[in-house]
């Protein structure tokens, strides 16, 4: 076997071992990287900055446990930003069944959460079944699908934050990080189209090109794109979180991917030339 052919047939085992090393090293040894926030990130930031005291924000965590490692840092950054805004009230709700415990995790990780009072500044409404139908139902009348909060199991009307909040018309903004683009599409169909409440999202990274459709059509107000988008947001807030650490991982692994692509193609062309010469 010629060396050119060998280059094109590296065992998966070695590819995986090297990838694992390249994934772990940047997490152990922080690599400082320059970051300039893109216009996508700036739009999300400015949308939240434009909120005024008394505005209600619906925060829908539909990342599920599978999407949390990738999207979680962005969720924490958005929660932190909303909690920094004086007088802005945050309502957490989930339509994905594994997501409810993630709200506590996000709130616990947001440094400004300690300044906010449960039931007055924020509330966790819990899980609503039925996916898209659940979303439509929630938008039409919150009390028809939720009677008690998730955190303490008390009737939601006992909390001051729920006063004057009846349906989707009472929200100024929807934030929906999601691990499947279909969740975001449901929100656009059931919330943006009938009620015109702007939506900002963190779509799953593989679905960023799909989210762009809705962004260009104006149905999605803004979104954070990929690990770089999340890291840029952390930078805007002055946080050093998992997204910034993840960006270093992206650098090593993406460079590795490009090197593998080049090696694979050099091997392919050299092997083909040898065959032609024969």
């Amino acid at each position: 076997m010629g060396w050119a052919k060998k280059m094109g047939e590296i065992s998966s085992k070695w590819i995986y071992i090297l990838l694992a090393i390249l994934l772990v090293i940047p997490l152990l040894v922080p690599i400082p990287l320059p970051l300039t926030p893109s216009h996508y990130t700036m739009e999300v930031y400015e949308t939240i900055e434009s909120l005024k005291p008394g505005d209600n924000v619906l925060f829908v965590i539909d990342t599920g446990t599978s999407g949390w490692p990738a999207l979680g840092p962005g969720v924490i950054a958005l929660v932190e930003h909303l909690f920094r805004k004086d007088g802005v009230k945050v309502f957490f709700v989930e339509f994905e069944s594994t997501s409810p415990p993630l709200v506590d995790r996000a709130v616990a990780a947001a440094p400004s959460a300690s300044k906010k009072k449960y039931g007055e500044d924020w509330i966790h409404l819990g899980f609503v079944a039925g996916e898209e139908t659940g979303k439509a139902s929630f938008a039409a009348d919150i009390r028809k699908v939720i009677s008690v909060d998730y955190k303490y199991g008390k009737p939601i009307d006992e909390y001051p934050i729920m006063k004057n909040v009846k349906n989707m018309n009472d929200f100024k903004l929807i934030v929906e990080p999601t691990n499947a683009i279909t969740w975001m599409e449901q929100a656009i169909r059931q919330w943006y189209t009938p009620y015109h409440v702007p939506i900002i999202s963190i779509p799953p990274f593989l679905d960023v090109p799909w989210a762009e459709n809705y962004y260009r059509a104006g149905q999605l107000k803004a979104y954070l794109a990929g690990t770089s988008g999340l890291a840029e947001y952390e930078k805007l807030l002055g946080m050093y979180g998992d997204a910034t650490r993840g960006l270093a991982v992206m650098t090593t692994t993406h460079t590795y991917a490009i090197i593998l692509f080049v090696i694979g193609n050099i091997s392919y062309f050299l092997s083909r030339r040898k065959k032609e010469v024969k």
Binding site: T133, S137, K144, E212, R216, F261, N265
Partner: protein, 209 residues
């Protein structure tokens, strides 16, 4: 005799058509009376969604219990499933969803297992990129080139030296990608409208087979 009436397909189609047209009316007409009835219909649908979750869980439990009972192939995985479901459900019923055992199972089993499943994708993607992105034809060359530009544009080290890559990536995502996707989305939406019309007219009979 009464039960026979409820089994009639015409009744099912009439119900589907009525509910579908009502929701369509609500979407198009802003009328408080219509909206109030719609909220009730949607509440029933949400309740049904909740019941379906329970039904799905019970059905999975029934299937895997049968596999364990008959000691079919890989029955021990089914036994593991049944054990976890029973522990999770009963501990949740006794301690509540925020109890010690359900929380421990969530944080130490479901959460890391889900994250691992998702993370494994990285290994498959890198292997696929190495083995399949070969410049064998013009089509593959275009696909490979765009892929590598997008990958490189997401690499902060590379964009320090070639900042123009970001603009090229954004152009690919916002122009050719959106153009192609819109065609697909609009085509699928028109298909969905016609499917809806067929359902309302009772022509789409696969629903009640």
């Amino acid at each position: 005799m009464t039960s026979e009436i409820f089994k009639r397909k015409e009744l099912v189609f009439a119900l589907i058509a009525f509910l579908g047209l009502w929701l369509f009316l609500d979407y198009s007409v802003v009328e408080p009376g219509v909206q109030s009835v719609t909220a009730d219909i949607l509440k029933w649908a949400t309740l049904l969604g909740g019941f379906m979750l329970i039904y799905g869980g019970l059905e999975a439990l029934r299937y895997h219990s049968k596999v364990v009972y008959k000691k079919q192939r890989n029955w021990y995985w089914s036994a593991y499933f049944v054990a976890i479901v029973l522990v999770y459900v009963f501990s949740g019923l006794i301690q509540g969803s925020k109890g010690m055992i359900p929380q421990w199972l969530f944080n130490n089993m479901l959460d890391p297992a889900s994250a691992t499943m998702y993370s494994i994708l990285a290994f498959y993607i890198i292997s696929a990129l190495y083995r399949t992105l070969r410049l064998r034809s013009i089509e593959l060359a275009i696909l490979s080139l765009v892929t590598i530009i997008v990958v490189a544009a997401n690499d902060p080290i590379i964009t320090i030296y070639v900042p123009q890559l970001t603009a090229v990536r954004d152009w690919f995502i916002s122009v050719p990608n959106v153009g192609a996707n819109r065609g697909f989305v609009i085509g699928a939406a028109i298909g969905a409208i016609f499917l809806g019309v067929r359902v309302f007219l009772g022509r789409e009979r696969s629903l009640v087979r």
